[in-house]
Structures are given as C-alpha cells and as structure tokens.
C-alpha cells in the first residue's frame, strides 16, 4: 500500500464548521459517501461506533480523534482528515465521562480488514509527534494538510 492509494486531497476537509462532534463526523462521512468511497450505511455506523466506543485520544498537547468503523461499509479504502474551525468535545477512548477538546479528526475507511491495524499503527505513530499535529493545525490550506500527511504518514507507512 502506497500513501497515494489512500490519501486524497478531495478527502481533506481543512476548514469545517461544526457545532458538535456528531456534525463533524457527519460532514466527513457525507464527503466520503458523495465520492463513492463508502456506502450509505457508513455515516450511521461511524456515529454509532463513536457513541459506544469513543475515539478521542488525549495526546500530551494537541488532541486528536481517530474514528473508524467496520470494513462492511466501505467501497474503497481512504483516509479522511478534518480540521475544525472551533474545538468540539470528544469523549476519551475507553473513558466516556472524560472529555477532551478536539480540532483534528483523522478518520479512515478501510476495505481490507487486515490493513486496519497496519494503518492505525502508522497513523498513531505519526500523531505521537506533537510537531506533526501542530503543523496540521497551522497549515494554510487543504493542499498543505495533504502534503504534511503525505510526508509524515507516508514515511511511517509499511509497504
């Protein structure tokens, strides 16, 4: 798997306005649905998963959420990345009562179940570098976000 296979500029939402995490996830899912990467059922599945198994990660400084759902809802594997204009509240993974403020959401839709672990490991390794998260927050455009992800995730991605 090459980074270009799963990272697409059209799936980067660098400047979205959402009053809640649900709205943000809906906007992301709708983008993927309209482009044909996922099935209609993806949106509900991702919202449902988030409600039951929250995806907020309390990184040391800048926080990020990593929502995903089952391969059944996916047509073609892709990463969807969103940067919100304002923070929204996510629950922390494994601790629904614990809340964090999030502006970065890294969603993926993978068709090959066995790739999920590989990609998630790559993304997690990438996001453990606070400089990467900071550069994503500071990026000027969707293209810049694409470039940062391309270089940082691409570097960690196993062939």
């Amino acid at each position: 798997m090459e980074i270009e296979d799963i990272l697409k500029t059209e799936c980067i939402l660098g400047n979205i306005e959402a009053p809640s995490k649900e709205k943000a996830l809906e906007l992301m899912a709708e983008r993927l649905t309209s482009l044909g990467y996922v099935k209609e059922s993806f949106k509900e599945a991702i919202l449902d998963r988030e409600a039951n198994y929250p995806s907020g990660l309390p990184m040391e400084d800048i926080k990020i959420a990593i929502p995903h759902t089952d391969a059944d809802h996916v047509n073609q594997s892709v990463i969807c990345f969103a940067r919100l204009k304002e923070n929204v509240e996510f629950s922390v993974m494994g601790a629904p009562d614990e809340k964090i403020q999030v502006r970065l959401i890294s969603m993926f839709a993978l068709k090959e179940k066995k790739l999920i672990g590989d990609l998630l490991e790559t993304l997690i390794t990438t996001y453990q570098d606070n400089d990467v998260l900071k550069s994503l927050l500071d990026a000027d455009s969707d293209e810049d976000i694409y470039k940062i992800l391309h270089d940082s995730v691409g570097k960690n991605l196993k062939a």
Binding site: Y53, L57, D70, M93, G94, I116, G117
Partner: protein, 94 residues
Amino acid sequence: MVKKKILVSCGTAVATSTVVLRKIEEILAEKGMNPTLVQCKAAEVPSKLDGVDLIVTTTPVGDVGDIPVIQTLSFLTGIGIDADMEKIISYIKD
C-alpha cells in the same frame, strides 16, 4: 513452564488492540520475553479467560474475576508506556 498469556482487547478486536498488541509484543521481545498474546473484543473478554494471566485493554471490560486488568491508552498516546510495561512485566514474570 507454562507460557504466560495476555489478552489484549478493544471495542472491535480489529483496530486499537492490534496496535497495542504489536507494541507490547515488540517491547517484550526486546527483553527476551514472548508470552502468548491473544486479541479479542472487550465484550468477549469474560468468555475468553481460560489460562489468561493478564488483560490489557483500551476500553472497559466486564467481570473478569481475579485476573488483573490494565486499561490504558499509553500505547496509543505515547504517554506512560514505560510505566505500563513495568506493570505488564510484573504480572507475567515468573
């Protein structure tokens, strides 16, 4: 000597538990330890306790009796891995 067994769980047994399992496996291998690591859904944990010495999970698990549980995000956030590894090793060393 019976091999120690660690159950690693998350919501779906697909995503975060894979990352956690690999990290634990890698760090233990560096220390010359190779326990059996088994991945499962958090909801399945109570039915998979046979021979399990330790449970490491990213999301809460149900009733597991006396088996120690480490619920942690350290392997995902990078914060506190060393402390968790010390705990893990303390439970599986002979």
